[in-house]
């Protein structure tokens, strides 16, 4: 086979150009604007940033929220992963599914439910007063930081669990057995062998959870908590011409993330041990005594229930006519579901979301397919393919707020792409670019399974390369393409940060932004927002089910580092 082909080069140029224009340029633009003041390099904005009390407090709060969230999430994730990987118990397979439920909704929809539950006249107070534990309602979220942390933990623990579980099951069982034969057991074995060997998973989990909770815009917004970095950037994006601080703050976030990523990567390389030829021994799953098994199942059950509670509350709220000082609504209605289709704001948002997400999926599919193909099969030097692969994975490291801020600022004067005019195109591009890694990964996984000899056989029988791709390659990876497309579609439907920042006028709002606007501005806002949220839950659940059917066991890998 040839090592180089013009066709591959053209495809490489096309995909690389897309990524340069819609990923590298906006970020670069933000950096330039942050460091160049009046034509010169300057750190002036950063001096102002560190001097501004509101920004200082926001940065502090963001660190506080993400540090607390990360510590709790990793702790819980580790405990769950250890039990799930190392033990066999009756309800294990049930929990394997239930534990992943939080993937179904973005946490900021859960925030509506959480606020309802813990409101002064909400369900929790009603419950406690009925029990007679308290006599007067408690103001639970007087400190909103705790509410935000709680929601982040309940939403993010599956990511920690999956990463740590992967690391744990990757440990060769003989490494622990040899400790046992040398006289070491229990906690000491865990501390000296198991835990150190699982650290790469812990590191990955820490990085993802920290970055996610640091850059989450939706949740603090729903709690009306403005003194965090993402919300500050969100507000600054609206006054981009007047206030250059948004650039500095976005750069701050991007640099912080780079430092974390590089740190983790260095750490992981230093610590990534090739498990020297795995032994033939399979893991001995621990058995629990009956009491412990019941205890573990109850704890896991309670945890899953806690994680589902905000969403259960959202569902109840969406059907409630009256929910005041009672544990569950006292009267139910379907009215809100009718309203969301008659109310202008919400009905337009449903249409917009479907339109944006469909087109973004198509765009993502096109770019993703070409990228995966060129990166995996392109007849090009390895370096070029690696560059493309790296670029395509980069969106994983760029938070939505930073990308949206980059789009808003760098394309503000470009017709068709300016979010200040008609933002349809830029929203579609934002969605597609944000989720490109998922698309590329699923398709790439498929391509890796299609042995080249299958294509070579077709070529040997006289078929031209393009025909081979259409007749052999694509049909063989069709399941992966579908899986990627459905996953990307549902992720677009629940995309929060770019939706909130890029859709500036009501007629362009997607559902997520409508949920935010409605819940804060209307009298029956939370109920309407919940109904919209329930629709999102259904879309995402369905797509998850279909994707996992198509992808099989590979599903979990998509959410790992």
């Amino acid at each position: 086979m040839k090592r180089f082909s013009l066709g591959s080069l053209v495809l490489w140029l096309a995909t690389t150009t897309y990524l340069l224009v819609f990923l590298v340029y906006p970020i670069l633009y933000v950096f330039v604007r942050a460091f160049i003041v009046e034509g010169r390099f300057s750190l002036a904005y950063f001096y102002i940033m560190t001097g501004d009390p509101v920004l200082r407090e926001s940065i502090f709060n963001s660190f506080l929220i993400s540090t607390l969230s990360t510590m709790l999430t990793v702790l819980v994730g580790y405990a769950i992963a250890y039990v799930m990987v190392r033990f066999d118990f009756k309800l294990k397979h049930v929990f394997e599914v239930l534990l992943l439920l939080p993937f179904v909704v973005p946490p900021f929809v859960g925030a509506i439910g959480m606020i309802q539950l813990f409101a002064r006249f909400g369900a929790v107070n009603a419950f406690l007063m009925q029990l007679g534990v308290i006599s007067r309602p408690i103001d639970w979220f007087g400190n909103r930081i705790l509410g935000i942390v709680l929601l982040e933990v309940l939403h993010l623990y599956p990511i920690a669990y999956l990463n740590i579980a992967a690391a744990l099951s990757n440990i060769d069982p003989t490494l622990e057995e040899s400790a046992e034969t040398l006289g070491v057991k229990g906690l000491r074995k865990f501390a000296t062998v198991t835990f150190p060997l699982s650290l790469p998973g812990v590191a990955a989990a820490t990085a993802i959870v920290f970055i996610w909770s640091f850059t989450d815009l939706g949740t603090p917004l729903m709690f009306n908590f403005y003194k965090v970095v993402p919300v500050q950037i969100f507000h600054m994006a609206r006054e981009i011409y007047a206030n250059p601080m948004g650039y500095a703050l976005t750069v701050f976030v991007l640099l912080l993330i780079s430092v974390i990523f590089l740190g983790i990567k260095r750490y992981a390389t230093a610590r990534s041990y090739e498990m020297l030829g795995r032994g033939h021994v399979s893991v001995r799953l621990g058995r629990m005594s009956k009491t412990v098994e019941v205890l573990v199942s109850v704890l896991l059950g309670l945890w899953v229930f806690a994680a589902a509670l905000p969403h259960i509350s959202v569902i109840l709220l969406s059907f409630s006519e009256r929910w005041f000082m009672t544990i569950i609504p006292s009267r139910f209605t379907l009215e809100h579901y009718i309203s969301i289709f008659t109310n202008d704001l919400t009905s337009i948002s449903i249409r917009n979301s479907l339109f944006y997400s469909s087109l973004a999926t198509l765009l993502g599919l096109g770019v993703g397919l070409l990228t995966a193909y060129v990166a995996n099969r392109g007849k090009l030097p390895q370096t070029l393919r690696d560059i493309l692969d790296m670029l395509a994975m980069w969106p994983l490291a760029v938070p939505g707020i930073a990308l949206a801020f980059g789009y808003l600022s760098s394309f503000s004067d470009v017709p068709l792409l300016s979010a200040y005019g008609n933002p349809t195109l830029i929203i579609i591009i934002a969605y597609a670019t944000r989720r490109l890694p998922y698309m590329v990964r699923t398709i790439y996984a498929g391509l890796q399974q299609v042995h080249r000899s299958l294509e070579e056989a077709a070529v040997s029988l006289g078929s031209k390369p393009f025909k081979v791709v259409m007749q052999i390659t694509i049909p063989l990876i069709l399941a992966n393409i579908f899986a990627g497309a459905i996953l990307v579609f549902s992720e677009c439907m629940i995309e929060v940060s770019t939706s909130l920042m890029l859709a500036l006028r009501e007629e362009y709002f997607p559902m997520t932004k409508a949920i935010y606007e409605v819940s804060t501005n209307l009298a029956v806002g939370p109920e309407l927002a919940s109904a919209l949220g329930v629709i999102l839950m259904i879309v995402v659940s369905l797509s998850m089910i279909i994707t996992s059917k198509l992808m099989g066991a590979k599903m979990g890998e998509l959410f790992r580092a």
């Binding site: 070491v184 000491r188 033939h280």
Partner: protein, 346 residues
Amino acid sequence: MDVKLRNIVKKFGKYVALNKVSLDIRDGELFFILGPSGCGKTTMLRIIAGLYEPDEGDIFFGENRVNDVPPYARNIGMVFQNYALWPHMTVYDNIAYGLKARGLSSREIDQKVKWALKLVRMEGMEKKYPNQLSGGQQQRVALARALVIEPDVLLLDEPLSNLDAKLRARMRSELKFIQKDLGLTAIYVTHDQAEALSMADRIAVMNIGVVEQVGTPLEIYEKPRTKFVADFIGEINMLEGVVVGRENGLFVVETVLGKLKVAGEDLADGQKVTVSFRPENVKIRRGKGLVKVRDVMFYGFYEELVLEVGEVQLKAFLSGREVDVKPGEVVSLEIDPSSIVVFREK
């Protein structure tokens, strides 16, 4: 420390991995468990280590029944097939691990680690990590780690199978030397018969969950008790036959080679048997006979003759170019009755 196994049964689901296995391993002995993959040899070793619990039967270390003693309390040293060195610890820390667990002072630990490193000829490698070592070096560290705790029993699970042929041959004699030098009781699992024959004091040959024969390498090789052992160890020729009479205290067996005299016990006339003999015990007579030479293969220090009689193929190993035969020639065979082993058939 001698090790006794009594009627050990181990099942995985419905699959019976060990079926009433009993063994006596003597103090200071290098004892081999030899068998093809899937015969249960590793399962047996892991039961001795305490990594598996037997479903039935008893294990004794000396006088003590250790069934309920967990692996970490058995004072064993185990060398795993993949070495199982901890990648996050240096060579020194790997070896010191078991000593730390035993609460030794850091001076004692240091002394013992140095001693173990010297024993396996790895001085000066303390600070390296396992992934900086070659396969052979990793193997030595794994051995040092198992030896340094002065175990009552050393368990070795195919320790040399990941090494290349030359290194394997060298490690054989080194391992044996260290074992004898320390006077350790060692149990060594392998599927490599050359390893077992060349190193073992005694060998247990296993097949699908049962021990077929226990004996010295010479006994196993020359007096195999079952067809499986005969076939598994070395090369052997097998012929079907029927006992037709006695002559001078030997039995006469009718085979495709004609009447063969064999030594044996208690064989009645008309008994169906299998006659087996090693290729190196075959002598060739040129001219006249029933046996046709199909091929002659030269291996340097010996020649292999592929012979055919009727439908049956036989092998003969000739050393020193005793007889100069060519393919196509017809020859007759002579086999010393004492080198023939007879198995009764139903």
